[in-house]
Amino acid sequence: MATPFIMPKFDMDQENATIVSWLKQEGDSVQQDEPVLTVETDKVAIEVTAPAAGRLAAIGFREGDVVPVTTVIAYILAEGEDVDGLPSPATPAKAPARHGAAPAAKRVTPVARRMAEDLGLDLGQMPGGSRRLTKADVESLRKSVPPPPGKAAATPAARRLARERAIDLREVSGSGPRGRIQSADVTRAADAPHAPPRRTGQEVQLTGMRRTIAERMQASFREAPHISLTVETDVTALEQARTRLNGRAGGEAGPGISLTATLVRLAACALERHPYLNASFQEDAIYLWTEINIGVATAVPDGLIVPVIHGANRLSVTEIARELQHLTEKAQSGRLDLADVHEGTFTISNLGMFGVHQFRAVINPPESAILAVGAVTRRPVAAKGGNQVVVRPIVTLTLSADHRVLDGVRAAAFLQELVRAIEAPDTLLE
């Protein structure tokens, strides 16, 4: 029996994955559990391994295709088997039985289904989502499919009208069977306001990551009322502590301890006493998490990913620095596991290395707060307990918080404790 090779489902709420590249080609022999392709989900890029040993055949999707999970994407053939008689890939397979999860069937309106059949379009290519596919989706898919070469299908009346009104039938979308252009379609096209001259530019396809960022940030901005509070703090003591730690570790091969690493540690400790900043707003309640898992926003070539340092309050700053280094490398080479990005409870985003003085970040849902860290700059400030102006290394921190979960006072109290820790970090960093 040929083994169907399905697009695996990595995460409970995952619906699609984008094929990034095939590591094996049609006809290659593969071992069981050998990586065959890499795919990109909403969250990470993952290598998918062969479900069985054999010969890879009937690859049904190309690189860049968005494939619903559980769809058969290829077959693995044993010795002497061939693909004859197998349903062609792209036929949705049954979801593997798991917690009674329903197969991820596409939801399509009847009109859209009929149109797709008439037009001979495969709705499997459509990015899914929880939304039902409608006529408009089919229309846009139809437009994305290049018309077959030769004459457009049109009724004689449509041809006459097109001739009379100087309409190019190849630019008219047909509403008749199999996309045949009816006279009404020509009239509509002729009466449509003329499109402005096509603007030049480059169209960038939304990859899984870009789409996810777009959807999640949009949702966050729409749903979570953001409040933001800004403080400036003197990092003289923190810098000294960091230098000391790095000097101590200097002989070792370990990574240097970054400002971000120290902030992860200090914020994690402060969060222990400020659970509303380590929380999630959900429909029925506010969840205050026990675990303190701090995500660190990390730039990757075409976006942003937030690897998570789990239990950051229980790790030393050296451990945090090592973990951060490790995760950053994985992120930049696209090798993060799902566990690496899972279950964050608070996020730190640092743009200081780009000289950004101050910024407000958008909360990373379902978390309740995010800390935006600016550049450390030497600024003149009034010395403590005197009237002298001194120059100190100062950083501006901006906390964005979900007003549904907490009020300004709680956010301020957290910032106050964090500032205190930054200004006297020794006990926490040792």
């Binding site: 009724t155 004689p156 009346a157 449509a158 041809r159 006459r160 509403s175 008749g176 069977p177 045949r180 009816q182 006279s183 009404a184």
Partner: protein, 328 residues
């Protein structure tokens, strides 16, 4: 304007022409005392006597052959073929002789005969008494083929058929004889070769003949409730065919459905469709030209199968909807 049945309308045409023109006489099986199988000639023998209402032996070849001879010698016979199926027995007289005489004698002979015949299914009369052979007759040059659908058309067209100098096959439908309608009194001839728009519409043209006309009109009423306005055209004469009226309608609606009871293969719907497809209406077509015809089978005796074998109102609605909604 009195209301009368299709059969009465035919009788009144016969009576008026027999009264007006002494050359007109009737021939057929059981057309005298009995009044014909469908009662069309009832009472005419009493009125005009057995010389002018002549009962014949059961020989259709004789009826048409005698009518042909009488017409060549100046009379105007109206022959009745009890069931259209039996016109097949007259084809030599009708096709080889009557249809050709005028042409073979350089226009010196004329053949003013009318051959009335009852066609169509729907009476449970089985395959040999239910045929719609009009398409066969339409194919013959020299014959005119008339197929009225209403009492008024039946009278007006029969008057014209009797006065026409050519052989006219006058196709009546068994199920129409009892249908009622207003009919003008007196000389209300309808020219042969003139179609009638039975219903105005803008969304599609249905060309229907004979019994299919009332069915198409009923379908049109139903479709109107859905906002689909079909135009129903009754050609009334299948030969000569009034292509102009049909083309004008299709230019307006962009869609054509031809409905007839005769079976599809070689049926006259093909002729209508070819005429429209090759006319100036072509450039106005917004749907494929469609026909809805009887199944290519002998008419079954079983009532359900008999109904299924020929287009019914629901079939017409379905087809019309499909072309209007651009689903075919």
């Amino acid at each position: 304007m009195p209301e009368m049945s299709y059969a009465e309308a035919l009788r009144s045409a016969l009576r008026e022409e027999m009264s007006r023109d002494p050359r007109v006489f009737l021939m057929g099986e059981d057309i005298g005392r009995y009044g014909g199988a469908f009662g069309v000639t009832f009472g005419l023998m009493d009125e005009f006597g057995p010389e002018r209402v002549r009962e014949t032996p059961i020989s259709e070849a004789t009826i048409v052959g005698a009518a042909l001879g009488a017409s060549l010698l100046g009379l105007r016979p109206v022959a009745e073929i009890m069931f259209m199926d039996f016109v097949l027995l007259t084809l030599d007289q009708l096709v080889n002789q009557a249809a050709k005489a005028r042409f073979m004698f350089g226009g010196k002979a004329s053949v003013p005969i009318v051959v009335r015949m009852a066609g169509g299914s729907g009476t449970g009369a089985a395959a040999q008494h239910s045929q719609s052979l009009e398409s066969l007759l339409v194919h013959i040059p020299g014959l005119k083929v008339v197929m009225p659908s209403t009492p008024a058309d039946a009278k007006g067209l029969l008057l014209s058929a009797i006065r026409d100098p050519n052989p006219v096959c006058f196709v009546e439908h068994k199920l129409l004889y009892k249908t009622q309608g207003l009919v003008r009194e007196g000389d209300c001839t309808i020219p042969l070769g003139l179609a009638d728009v039975k219903r105005d519409g803008k969304d599609a043209t249905i060309v229907a003949g004979g019994i299919m006309v009332p069915r198409a009109l009923a379908a049109a009423e139903r479709l109107a409730l859905e906002g689909i306005e079909v135009e129903v055209i009754d050609p009334r004469c299948l030969r000569p065919l009034d292509v102009d009226t049909i083309v004008r309608s299709v230019r307006k609606t962009g869609r054509l459905l031809v409905v007839h009871e005769a079976c599809q293969t070689g049926g006259w719907a093909g002729e209508v469709i070819a005429s429209v497809g090759s006319s100036e209406a072509f450039a106005y077509l917004d749907a494929p030209l469609r026909r809805l015809a009887g199944a290519d089978i002998p008419i079954p005796y079983n009532r359900n199968l008999e109904q299924a074998a020929v287009p019914q109102q629901a079939d017409i609605e379905r087809e019309a909807r499909a072309i209007v909604q651009a689903r075919i």
